[in-house]
């Protein structure tokens, strides 16, 4: 059976990404297993959580890109959120005492980055609404946590938190018209 070829012959593409992904998956799973095992055997603080979260974040951000609704803006949001969780884990399980200052700075950096991208791509601003809302609300949610758990005399942290909140407020004011529609679409329960 010899059909007449009526389709173009595709240029053979290197399956570099696919191969790398397969190798990395094995390496990551092995590393995760070994770390948890060592942590259980050696006891002490749950430092393996730091490793697990790092591996998970790298996998999510590099090797398992979202299939629906991927954008630079949402990717950056993910990077910042993953980094903040990682910083908190390091502070909690490995080297305590510095996250109270560093995390607000990272939050501020995240809000500032979003602020800049938001204005550079203003004609497509609605695309970024959800990521922006998530990041802003997370930032707001951590303010009481900071003031309650850490000494209030950490004014640097507090100032950065407030600055982030102000940036968020500005973004909210600019896009307040789009927010109800966005929330309605995102939180609709009835599919029919």
């Amino acid at each position: 059976m010899n059909p007449k070829i009526t389709y173009p012959i595709p240029v053979r593409q290197h399956s570099f990404y696919r191969t790398t992904r397969a190798i990395v998956r094995i390496v990551f799973l092995t590393a995760a297993f070994v770390c948890v095992l060592l942590n259980v055997i050696l006891k002490g603080k749950a430092w393996s959580l730091v490793v697990l979260w790092s591996l998970f974040s790298i996998w999510q951000l590099v090797f398992s890109l979202k299939l629906v609704e991927y954008s630079v803006f949402s990717h950056i949001t993910h990077i910042f959120i993953d980094a903040i969780i990682l910083l908190w884990l390091i502070d909690h399980f490995l080297a305590p005492g510095w996250a109270s200052t560093v995390i607000p700075i990272v939050f501020f950096a995240a809000m500032l980055t979003m602020f800049i991208i938001y204005f550079v791509t203003f004609d497509r601003k609605h695309r970024h609404l959800t990521s922006m809302l998530v990041m802003g609300l997370l930032n707001l949610a951590t303010i009481p946590y900071y003031t309650h758990h850490w000494p209030i005399d950490n004014w640097v942290a507090f100032a950065f938190q407030i600055a982030s909140a102000v940036l968020f407020l500005v973004l909210l004011i600019i896009s307040w018209k789009d927010i109800p529609g966005e929330l309605n679409a995102r939180f609709k329960t009835k599919n029919r």
Binding site: M1, P3, R18, L67, V68, Y70, H126, F187, K190, R192
Partner: protein, 494 residues
């Protein structure tokens, strides 16, 4: 200021130059898009203008053909629109995995070589009539949904394996692609947007517009929509919500089906094969066996599958989609198909004389309006019961359910688009139409049948490298005296 405009006007009379300036002013007024898309859309017009001028057309003729009124207000709209996914579509984004996206293709071969510039403009004009096609899938907290966009979609030259997953990155984010290759125009769609029949209407309308831009007149009949008409709200309907039936729980579940031998390839498609036959001949042969064309082709598939499976016992299921529009004349352009399984035990698959009447009976019973409507109602109930489960929980659950019950219970799918009607003026322009379905894992093949004029194309899409299945199909068709012409792709390498 459009940079290409000076080049375009070179050598034209002053009157023509003024007309062109005024034309492009009107064009720019009709576009209010982000800069990238705006420039891209305008360049489609300048390129087409240039191409027409090279052909020797007069500026006024071109201006009339490319009148910006055909863009409507689609590219100047700022408001956003959202649509829920229909009941058949909601599983598709949830069931997606890396490198696997439920895609399908409908393509038409024209009499003449395709002009990409004109095809691009035809797409720009046609898209406004099909707003749901330019929608992108977004992830909500409880469900995925569609966000209607008005971004410009570029036609592409076909140079890759059919139905490759659509890139979801950044600007190219979209839900379908339009491809051209020699005389063929293809559209490949993410199944969440529409089904085969919706895609066919889009393809016919696109080709009708392409022909209009080539100076031919095509009437808006037989599934060709008038692109200058406002979209009919009935075309966006989620028809599943209208399903009526008893409260009996109709089930999708079945026993796992035997699968064709051969290792499943890494690629979603390893080869495409078209078996082209005369519809008249095919009808005669089917009638000889006492069945419809669908029953006859299914019998051939069952026999070929039996020969490609080393097991001698076990259930073999072939899935048949049913176009629900035929029951109520719905105008929806979204998914509106249900499925049923035709089943045989491998040991009972004997010959076509016995199989065709049996399959005919199964099609009549299992594909009846009552059964299909009941299944639609069950789908609705299932969806309602999951309404308050967040997507991140639905995702793994439905992926598991999907992998266990959707494709494992079938060996193959046969989707018959039937006799595709065309407006009289298009009949001479379209040589054949075919549909490619990506086999869902772990199926090794899927099949579709489409007939236009007298050309019936049975398309087999493979996902393994064994060739027994297609070889046997060919032999079974030939032994009934059918004159089969074979076309297809090379075997794709991973």
């Amino acid at each position: 200021m459009i940079p290409e405009l000076d080049k375009l006007k070179g050598g034209l009379s002053e009157k023509e130059q003024i007309s062109i300036d005024s034309y492009f002013d009107r064009l720019q007024d009709a576009i209010d898009l982000p800069v990238y898309y705006r420039n891209s859309l305008i360049s489609h017009f300048t390129q087409a203008f240039e191409s027409y001028l090279d052909e020797g057309k007069k500026a006024d003729e071109i201006i009339e053909l490319l009148d910006p009124k055909h863009l409507g207000d689609f590219y100047s709209r700022r408001e956003r629109g959202f649509l829920s996914l229909d009941n058949a579509a909601i599983i598709y984004p949830l069931g997606m995995r890396y490198g696997q996206m439920p895609m399908f293709r409908v393509s038409a071969e024209l009499k003449d070589e395709v002009d990409p510039c004109i095809l691009q403009l035809a797409l720009d004009f046609t898209l406004k009539r099909f707003p749901t096609f330019s929608a992108v899938v977004k992830r909500g907290f409880f469900w995925h949904y569609l966000e209607l966009t008005n971004y410009v979609i570029q036609v592409e030259e076909e140079n890759d394996i059919p139905c490759k997953p659509i890139s979801v990155f950044l600007r190219s984010s979209r839900s379908f692609r339009v491809l051209y290759y020699k005389k063929r125009i293809s559209i490949e769609l993410f199944h969440a947007i529409t089904d085969g029949n919706g895609a066919l209407i889009f393809l016919k309308t696109l080709i009708a517009e392409y022909l209009r831009l080539n100076g031919k007149t095509v009437s808006c009949t037989n599934g060709v929509l008038d692109i200058d008409e406002a979209p009919d709200p009935r075309e966006f309907e989620n028809e599943f919500k209208k399903a009526e039936g008893s409260d009996d729980f109709s089930t999708f579940m079945d026993k796992p089906s035997a699968q064709l031998d051969g290792k499943l390839a890494n690629l979603n498609i390893t080869r495409v094969i078209h078996f082209q036959m005369s519809c008249t001949q095919l009808k005669e042969v089917s009638r000889r066996y006492g069945g419809t064309i669908t029953a006859y082709i299914l019998a051939v598939l069952f026999l070929a599958a039996r020969d490609s499976i080393s097991k001698k016992n076990g259930l073999l299921n072939m899935q048949v989609p049913v176009n629900m529009r035929k029951f109520n004349g719905s105008k929806t352009l979204r998914n509106y198909s249900m499925y049923f399984n035709t089943s045989m035990d491998l040991s009972e698959i004997t010959d076509k004389e016995e199989l065709v009447p049996l399959l005919n009976e199964q099609i009549r019973e299992r594909g009846s309006e009552t059964v299909m409507t009941q299944m639609m109602k069950t789908t609705g109930k299932l969806i309602d019961s999951l309404a308050f489960l967040p997507v991140f929980l639905k995702n793994p659950i439905l992926q598991l359910v999907y992998s266990f019950f959707s494709n494992r219970i079938i060996c193959n799918t046969l989707s018959n688009l039937g006799m595709i009607s065309l407006p009289e003026e298009m009949k001479d322009e379209i040589v054949k139409i075919a549909m490619i379905l990506v086999p869902g894992r772990p199926n090794r093949a899927s099949a579709s049948l489409a007939t236009v004029n007298d050309a019936s194309i049975l398309t087999l899409t493979k996902a393994n490298r064994e060739t027994v299945f297609e070889d046997r199909i060919y032999e079974y068709l030939k032994e009934d005296g059918l004159n089969v012409t074979l076309e297809g792709s090379v075997e794709y390498e991973s």
